[in-house]
Symmetry: C2
Subunit: 548 residues, 2 copies
């Protein structure tokens, strides 16, 4: 991706909505060819920007906090750490959900907080939560604002709690226990760099890594791209400290126990509705990237690739860390945008029966100790060979790794071109995976001009996730409703065929309407009871979160 170095003014909606590097980027030539073909765009179309959001931010809703509230917060946290101007409130009013980006492009900020407060310590968080409980002010804990589920909106106003400004320190790296104790607001890169300096890695690399925090990872139950080997974030959390209206919950860092349940697990997936996570103790891993064994494979069909993946996961010879399959739709796009399509190598593949429209890429890394990584990779290569996959070297994996965070930046230029694009994801057992996969494709294919890419990227003994990326021209003038209807139908299709509401994005406000039907009344009532106990006045991220 090439950047045009024209820094956007910082007071525009566009500055808020842009993901990744705030500079403007150019779409490369392979992508342009593809967009022209898929959506019939002309050179003229490519020069225009649809709903660019270049207006200056102005909020309609005034801050409803009283001067006395702001005085209290300012005297507690320092006045530099309490912001109530329009731009700050708008910036902290949302995450990066497609619907939120559309709102910003339309110059709208429907659910701004009344103020943004950046506490400087756990104790300040305790006092803020106490004060807000007494005053019935909503509190929305916020980290890197990469939520794609509407989890950061403030429909009841209140304060957005910026944990990134001060609560971002590593407290202790314990090399005897191989754990780290860290404040919740630390961002991925700072966390990983500090661990690397001590010879460790956090093992958690979601696509949002550059703009997400430890607290956010836990709250949304995130998964890193190498989660098949390292586990999801809830597998890495050993203990945590959380401030709730009912008091501070601090759990101990035992390796395992049998004294009731692991209370820290209630905060993984609570998405800020129970309290504010201020600290966590996590497992860490040896930082030895030179040990990583990588391999790319190609299969003649998605079904064959999935079957080989399942065999790997159930063979009990160790597991990969990164483990992905791109379905034919995504493989096709990868081949076209990388310029591979039409090369001699491509013709060779086709000659071997790896045809466009059915062939699938599989990417694997095995990490950890060097000989272990080699051993497991050897086993995987044998399984893949038996499963009719073909080894294509490690180059494609390295290329993918190099752009694994920045590929998400593409959403903004696509939206500039009037293209609707969003991602959904689900967890599903092996016996239902192909059904969900094909039903989702059928659903999207029914929309003229729409297409979908699906990949598997987090894999378990008993199933995997499916990750859906769809693209379609926007219905201009009716962008929001059109999207909402299309999105709803896709979620219904995924869940109706046996997928979960979410595997690692969380639920937020966007997917909340599906919760009760999916979990059942008894389970929802139980979650509600926990919420009521910890947050009796419903000040913690209130307003439709998780269906509570």
């Amino acid at each position: 991706m090439n950047y045009i170095r024209s820094m956007e003014r910082e007071n525009t909606y566009r500055h808020i909505l842009k993901w990744g590097d705030k500079r403007e980027e150019e779409v490369d030539s392979h992508m342009i060819t593809l967009l022209k073909e898929k959506f019939g765009l002309t050179d003229e179309d490519l020069k225009k920007k649809h709903l660019p959001g270049r207006e200056e931010v102005r909020l309609e809703k005034p801050s409803l906090l009283k001067p006395s509230h702001l005085d209290f917060l300012g005297s507690l946290c320092g006045s530099d750490n309490v912001l109530a101007d329009d731009l700050s409130r708008a910036r902290w009013s949302c995450g990066k959900f497609y619907g939120e980006l559309l709102d910003l492009r339309l110059g709208q900020v429907p659910d701004p907080p009344d103020a943004v407060v950046a506490p400087r310590s756990h104790d300040e968080v305790v006092k803020i939560v106490e004060y807000c409980s007494d005053e019935k002010i909503a509190v929305i804990p916020a980290g890197g604002q990469s939520s794609v589920t509407g989890a950061l909106r403030a429909p009841q106003g209140g304060i957005a709690l910026d944990l990134t400004k001060h609560l971002n320190r590593i407290i202790e790296i314990n090399s005897v226990n191989k754990t780290v104790r860290v404040e919740a607001g630390i961002m991925g890169p700072a966390f990983e760099e500090e661990l690397n300096r001590h010879g460790y890695s956090c093992g958690h690399f979601p696509q949002s890594f550059e703009y997400s925090t430890v607290g956010g990872w836990i709250s949304a139950r995130g998964a890193g791209q190498a989660s098949t080997g390292y586990g999801k974030i809830e597998d890495m959390v050993v203990a945590l400290k959380a401030v709730t209206p009912a008091g501070v919950i601090e759990t101990k860092d035992f390796p395992r126990m049998a004294q009731g349940w692991d209370i820290h697990r209630l905060f993984a997936g609570a998405e800020g509705t129970l309290g504010v996570i201020t600290e966590a103790t996590l497992h860490i891993f040896n930082h030895a990237p030179e040990n990583t064994a990588s391999a790319g494979f190609i299969f003649r069909s998605f079904e064959q690739a999935v079957e080989a993946m399942r065999t790997v996961m159930q063979s009990e010879y160790g597991k990969p860390h990164l483990f992905r399959i791109s379905d034919p739709g995504e493989t096709d796009i990868a081949f076209r945008t990388s310029g591979f399509d039409g090369t001699t190598a491509d013709r060779l593949l086709k000659g071997l029966g790896f045809m466009t429209g059915s062939r699938c890429l599989m990417f694997v890394t095995v990490e950890g100790e060097k000989s272990y990584a080699r051993f497991v990779m050897k086993k995987i290569r044998r399984t893949v060979r038996r499963g009719k996959g073909m080894f294509i070297g490690s180059g494609p994996v390295r290329k993918w790794l190099a752009q694994r965070y920045s590929s998400a930046y593409m959403r903004d230029p696509l939206m500039d071109l009037g293209i609707m694009t969003d991602t959904l994801e689900t967890a599903v057992t092996w016996d239902k995976l192909l059904k969900v996969w094909s039903a989702a494709h059928e659903y999207v294919n029914r929309r003229p001009g729409a297409f979908m890419m699906i990949h598997i990227s987090h894999v378990y003994e008993n199933g995997a996730n499916l990750y859906f990326t769809f693209l379609s021209p926007m219905e201009r003038g009716n962008e929001r409703q059109d999207f909402a209807l299309f999105h709803r139908g896709l979620v219904d299709t995924i869940i109706g065929n046996g997928g979960s509401i979410s595997h690692h994005h969380g639920v937020g406000r966007v997917l909340a309407p599906w919760m009760e039907g999916h979990l059942g009344k008894s389970s929802m009532a139980l979650m509600t009871a926990v919420k009521k106990h910890l947050d009796p006045d419903n000040i913690m991220n209130p307003g439709g979160m998780l269906g509570l």
Copy 2:
């Protein structure tokens, strides 16, 4: 162990208290020599049995259920499945906690249920729980009755729910997802045999395996002897179905998700206080015992053995399945009771510096795919060698495996000899493990005539469990209070030095008094809120469980 084939009459306290084979066993000659030396027992002493409990069972407390209650239960479940006689009530009044065994030997049954009911289906459990909620009758879910925490007592009477009689079927083995759906009351051996027939194993082999159920494993958060590789039971549970007074909770078998928290995890460790688990879906493993690589090692000190164990767990080259260290006290007993002490091999070991009183045994298996097991074992052997441990072949591991369930049968003949013996266990991080270990030894050593053996048997990246077995002459005539005081001091010592209340036995009524101090008021209040929501009338295993 040699059995004397004089079957005990079935209506005595002794028949209830005996663990394992109900026949009388003889203590072998090595053990007799040891007992004579450790406790100054004479040949005369060895012939007598202290508090043998041979009296016929008679309860002081009459059943408080009304005829109408028994009629309802009989018409619902069939009259064969409702028992209210003294013997049945006594049998289902307790588990196998030392204090309970003492009570039985003293001819006392302090907390019998009013009846024992064996439901024939999930739906019958639903109706029983509904009825008992309406009638305020306590319900104590029971499986194999191997609890060592007083979890099965009925201080408020009510009904013991025998899940083993009918709810003991495998519902489905799903070989695509590599999971099994099973009723909660199935016993370990029946479960494993059926899985073996399909090429699978449950991977969960607690010492109580022969007399414990899937539902009990989950309720108490048990750990099998190969848990280092296969995980604790809570790691194996994918989904479950539980009947609570607030309705049936049924969770889905997604591999992972991010839609709130894993509600099934609340029932792991709830010990029957939230509801009755009737079904569970669990991960299963390939049954290939021929692939297992085994190795025994010996170290010159406990500290060196622990350091090597920690290195293995943190090296990221795969993990052992069974992984144990016997501390010098336990190693000494093992060498003496196996007849190894004083042999040429023993003298050779001593010549190499592996001295009685400091040397430690380590046992390892690696299971799974054959070449994987060999690969990981090779890595472990290298780590152990560098850590100054010495390979001693796989014979000792095989011997240990052969008696791994029956060694617990020894408690009864020891109690016959007036010897108090009990086990405790804890989870602790590596940085506190040696402190807990030495403090526990110091505590026991302060009691004249007492000694303790400790082992590590469940190991994690960040720590391990410690398992304590102590022996001491009983204070005759004051057996109960003497034990209670001694036990309390040991628990205080373990927790005070950084151990958890329990790693895999659970809390029950015995350890409940430590819960609030250990977990903190906020966490206990949260657990209580969950209990109140699911069981508002407190009918589920009431009376001091878990400190609720």
